[in-house]
């Protein structure tokens, strides 16, 4: 696999998450109703990790949900049906500050689908977006509030997040050339 590069290793991932957590804490005052909602796959595990760090900073539990966005995608009949995951949001989002957590921000279409899907669960006070990697190439007017790392990429390249939670031997973010 000479054509793949590790762009973030385990330490860098954890450092990026710690920084994102502090930025979230800075932007939203203590006591604000902040909830984290991760987008599978990847974003759900990252949301769990962020929650742990934020709980330490704030001294209060930060709830985590999982939001499947596949049913709200805009390209469903253009490619093979995506893998879908059960949505689990064990709290009311109405009036809360929802931080959407995704692994990679690319076209922005997943984020649009996520905001659409979230609407069916209530009316959040505001929605913020945290991503581990922003790789550019936006196709929609969407911008992340919290970014772990900006990575300039070519459109054909692929970025994968490997986490121990999903069975990988170690955490890393890999960039693969076509």
């Amino acid at each position: 696999m000479s054509d793949s590069t590790v762009i973030l290793d385990a330490t860098a991932i954890q450092r990026a998450l710690t920084r994102i957590a502090h930025e979230i804490a800075e932007r939203n005052e203590v006591g604000t109703d902040v909830v984290l909602i991760g987008i599978p796959t990847g974003g759900d595990h990252l949301a769990q990790r962020l929650s742990k760090i934020l709980t330490g900073i704030w001294g209060q539990a930060v709830p985590v949900g999982i939001l499947d966005v596949s049913m709200h995608r805009d390209d469903l009949d253009r490619r093979a049906a995506p893998k879908v995951f059960p949505t689990v949001i064990p709290f009311d989002v109405t009036g809360k500050t929802v931080v959407l957590v995704d692994d990679v921000l690319f076209s922005g279409r997943t984020t649009r689908a996520a905001m659409d899907a979230l609407n069916d669960f209530g009316r959040p006070k505001r929605i913020q977006l945290a991503v581990l990697v922003d790789r550019g190439h936006r196709e929609l007017p969407i911008k992340a509030d919290f970014v772990g790392k900006n990575v300039p990429t070519a459109r054909e390249e692929k970025i994968s997040l490997l986490l121990v939670e999903s069975g990988a031997s170690r955490d890393e973010v890999v960039l693969k050339k076509p």
């Binding site: 009949d77 253009r78 093979a80 879908v84």
Partner: protein
């Protein structure tokens, strides 16, 4: 695993991975049904024709609701109100419906092979909602989903299917799905309705009710289909109930965690005692709930286009 099928015509031709993908997808759709807003936009702008040439209530309602919850537009076409009564052929009826730009045709028909036939003459995706005594794939998928959800697995379980096997598309589809997923299937009922030829499908056939259910983890009771019986395949309903009806005494001899299923409509007091149907061991109503999730999953998967799946962030 990528789903690349355009039609769902039977279970026989599905791979284990494909069956598993439907079941996994259905898990996500089941929780949609538990929300305040039970609708997703996945099939927005798509048109589904429900072509029910043979009477059906629960399957039709289940498909209709599944389609509505996926935001599809629906045309319902039933035998009573159709031009088939006026001499139109199935092919012409279907092509007329397709001329309305239908994307999906869900067909229930009394002739085995009707769904396969339509899939060959139409451009739309065809979903078999039961064809004659051949197959009823979504029923088998929802039964398998229910078993997997309650038992945590399908492989290695003993599943006994009781009753009218010969005329049952539910039995055939279930046998295919269960044996593919590694369950051990036992069939039992009057010998006229459970021919030994089913052993070729990888099942065990027995005519002793007590023996059939003794080691069962799942007991799936099928209705005696009066409408499909030729003449008398067994002497009387009373005798059937005595020999093959599930009552308290028989249930007491089964494993304590054996669960009861039935595709409905149930005939209380015939194949199942009323209080067993209403007991905590009965999965009958869960099957109805799961049927909705499974049918949403099937339509969602068939709606997918060609090519690879989208990868996260790519």
């Amino acid at each position: 695993m990528t789903w690349n099928r355009k039609h769902l015509l039977d279970i026989e031709s599905l791979t284990v991975d494909e069956i598993t993908m439907v079941l996994d997808t259905a898990r996500a759709f089941k929780v949609v049904g538990e929300r305040a807003i039970k609708k997703v936009p996945a099939l927005r702008g798509k048109t589904v024709v429900n072509l029910f040439i043979e009477p059906s209530t629960r399957t039709r309602i289940s498909f209709e609701l599944a389609e509505q919850r996926l935001s599809a537009d629906i045309i319902n076409f039933t035998a009573e109100a159709s031009s088939l009564k006026k001499g139109e052929t199935l092919k012409d009826t279907a092509r007329n419906l397709e001329a309305l730009n239908a994307d999906f045709i869900v067909i229930r028909h009394s002739a085995s092979g009707a769904a396969h036939f339509l899939s060959r003459v139409l451009d739309a995706s065809v979903v078999n909602a039961g064809d004659g005594a051949h197959e009823h794939p979504t029923q088998a998928l929802l039964d398998t989903f229910t078993i997997r959800e309650r038992k945590g697995k399908v492989a290695g379980l003993n599943v006994t299917i009781l009753g009218d096997i010969l005329y049952s598309r539910v039995a055939r589809s279930n046998i295919w799905a269960l044996t593919k997923l590694g369950a051990r299937v036992t069939l039992c009922g009057p010998s006229t309705l459970v021919p030994k030829t089913f052993e070729r499908m990888g099942c065990r056939v027995t005519y002793e009710m007590d023996e059939a259910i003794r080691d069962a983890d799942i007991i799936n009771l099928l209705r005696i289909q009066h409408e499909r019986q030729r003449k008398t395949m067994f002497p009387s309903i009373n005798e059937y109930t005595q020999l093959f009806g599930l009552n308290k005494a028989r249930l007491a001899k089964t494993k304590p965690d054996a669960l009861i299923m039935h595709p409905g409509p149930i005939n209380r007091g015939v194949e199942i005692d009323s209080d067993i149907a209403d007991s905590g061991r009965s999965l009958i109503l869960e099957q109805v709930t799961n049927g909705l999730a499974v049918r949403m999953a099937v339509l969602f998967l068939l709606n997918g286009g060609k090519g690879p799946q989208e990868l996260a962030g790519n």
